[in-house]
């Protein structure tokens, strides 16, 4: 079992999950409360990583952040490095890949907040932004935690996108799932078994946490 790979994987998953809190919450808010008639276009784009093969997604990300694309060139101009096959590039790919796993639970939770409460907050003088932080977020805690934890867990098990965008660089982009693949390729079955068991236990623990938490919240605020 490679502790370096585990460290890279957890670092990647934590940063992805945090970044998705920052990016995903506003997107989810907009998706829930916007009355724009073409909203479904954006909804479908956000959900795309759920159905797209990771290799396809990885391929497009690789092209988009490569040195020949405007984004890639801009990044190289500012930072002086290239994104593909770096940890930063892998992070960008992970954020896009796990986007629906964060945004959908967020949006579901926002959607369940009683509109009357939101309106009451507005008439009491609180701006939309203040209402969001003071009322909507506290009422959606379970959904926000679910989204953050799900995107964390989803990143832990990511394989195709990592291989396409990050490659297999020890200590930089080699995650646990790649490590298992390498071990199997090298016929090192006992190492693969250890790492696989580790990932299985962690994933199960994460899901146990989510289901237990949502169950408790469900009992306190029964659905109408």
């Amino acid at each position: 079992m490679s502790w370096t790979a585990i460290w890279v994987t957890f670092k990647l998953a934590s940063l992805t999950s945090m970044a998705l809190l920052v990016i995903g919450l506003p997107i989810a808010y907009w998706l829930t409360f916007s009355k724009w008639r073409w909203k479904f276009l954006v909804e479908s784009i956000v959900a795309l990583p759920l159905v797209l093969p990771p290799t396809v997604l990885g391929f497009y990300i690789l092209v988009a952040i490569g040195p020949h694309s405007p984004i890639g060139r801009l990044y190289t101009d500012i930072v002086g490095q290239t994104l593909p096959f770096s940890f930063q590039g892998l992070l960008v790919a992970s954020i896009l890949y796990s986007l629906p796993f964060a945004v959908q639970p967020f949006a579901t939770a926002f959607d369940q907040v009683d509109r009357n409460l939101i309106e009451a907050s507005w008439t009491l003088g609180l701006s939309k932004a203040k209402t969001f932080f003071k009322l909507i977020i506290p009422l959606s805690t379970a959904g926000v935690i679910t989204g953050a934890v799900l995107s964390f867990a989803h990143t832990l098990g990511e394989f195709g996108v990592v291989l396409m965008v990050g490659g297999n660089i020890e200590g930089v982009t080699r995650t646990v799932s790649i490590d298992i693949y390498d071990d199997v390729q090298a016929l090192n079955y006992s190492a693969a078994a250890n790492t696989a068991l580790f990932l299985l236990v962690v994933s199960y623990a994460v899901l146990l946490f989510i289901y237990a938490m949502n169950r408790k919240v469900w009992a306190v605020w029964p659905q109408k």
Partner: protein, 363 residues
């Protein structure tokens, strides 16, 4: 400039009658305006438009010197900037906040010390002492209503908007809180607009009543005016109570109150303190007419009077009787002919005590 409220809005709905309401009144004349009408008449839409929670397609809303909405001039003031207190029908208390937290919610502009003082003041005024740390779901309906009102009033709004303030309560609590609410509104002396479909609430809470039907304001007047002199058949049908007259409770025994109205004594269902001013409300169909008293009946009220008006009303006839006060009875044409009812003829009006509704009022 007169302290005036002027509303003129139009809003269309896909599957419902459109709303095209116009209303204008002076605040000196009415601290509490009641928007009264059956459900679906558009009164809640008007209230929510005043709050800024709903946007009419066309129209203007002016409160004193400030324009809150003028679609022609492109003015749309957000609800946050209107300085209003708004209470939704289901109270919309924040479940994650305590009673004190709910009341303090709109007070973020104050310093911590001022905020605590204001919350304390509200807790006192709305009799919520001891409940400060409770969560809304631990409260009774009446308590929730008081918290919601306290929260709406705490930031010292310019205008208080109440959507069916009592309809979420069970009937005994509603009767009790109706009086409390009126006393509170009077004490706060805060301009308020109250939406209700209940005529007893209208009489009890309103200084001025705007009757709404099918998306329009049909009549504006004092409660008694609107009930006793409806502008047209639609208003008459909406209010449904033809006789509303002021009186005083002079005796109270076994749940039965005796009320003096212009020297005439009437018995009605009680629950009011002796001396308290009430509106005596009687529906025309609850009044039975007799030609000379035939003796004992179970009805508690036998009033001798004289016919002073006969108004045909479809197959029925509205008979206006002077029995110390004007009373309207509704009888069939056949009954009118059999009893020989014509102008000036003496009649006895019989009303069961249960049909004499008493609604407390302010003097």
């Amino acid at each position: 400039m007169a302290a005036e409220v002027a509303i003129e809005i139009t809003k269309t709905f896909p599957a419902r009658a459109c709303i095209s309401a116009e209303l204008k009144y002076e605040l000196q004349q009415a601290t509490a305006l009641v928007l009264f009408g059956p459900s679906g008449s558009g009164k809640t839409t008007v209230l929510r438009s005043i709050a800024g929670l709903e946007w009419p397609e066309r129209g203007r809303i002016r409160f004193i010197s400030r324009t809150w909405l003028d679609t022609a001039a492109g003015i749309r003031v957000a609800p946050q900037d209107r300085q209003i207190g708004y209470m939704a029908q289901d109270y919309a208390l924040f479940p994650t906040h305590t009673v004190a937290g709910n009341i303090a919610y709109g007070l973020s502009a104050l310093t911590a010390a001022e905020r605590n003082r204001r919350v304390d003041e509200m807790v006192e005024l709305f009799q919520l002492r001891g409940l400060e740390t409770s969560k809304p779901r631990e409260l009774s309906g009446g308590q929730q209503q008081r918290v919601a009102l306290a929260r709406a009033v705490a930031p010292r709004p310019q205008l208080l908007l109440l959507d069916e303030p009592l309809s979420a309560l069970d009937i005994p609590t509603r009767m009790q809180l109706r009086g409390e609410l009126r006393t509170l509104l009077k004490r706060l002396a805060l301009p308020s607009i109250i939406v209700t479909h209940d005529w007893a609430e209208t009489l009890s809470l309103g200084d001025l009543v705007a009757v709404m039907g099918e998306g329009q304001v049909i009549q504006v007047g004092s409660p008694q005016e609107v009930f006793c002199r409806p502008a047209n058949a639609t208003v008459a049908q909406i209010v449904g109570v033809e006789t509303v007259i002021e009186g005083h409770v002079i005796e109270e025994a076994d749940g039965l109150a005796t009320v003096r109205v212009n020297g005439t004594l009437l018995k009605g269902l009680g629950g009011y303190a002796i001396g308290s001013p009430v509106f005596v409300c009687v529906r025309a169909e609850d009044v039975v007419l007799e030609q000379g008293s035939t003796g004992l009946t179970s009805a508690r009220n036998h009033l001798n009077g004289k016919v002073i008006g006969i108004i045909p009303h479809g197959v029925m006839v509205h008979v206006k009787i002077d029995c110390g006060f004007p009373l309207v009875a509704m009888v069939t044409r056949g009954a009118q002919q059999e009893l020989g009812i014509e102008l000036g003829s003496p009649v006895v009006a019989i009303i069961k005590a249960g049909a004499v509704h008493l609604v407390s009022r302010m003097e």
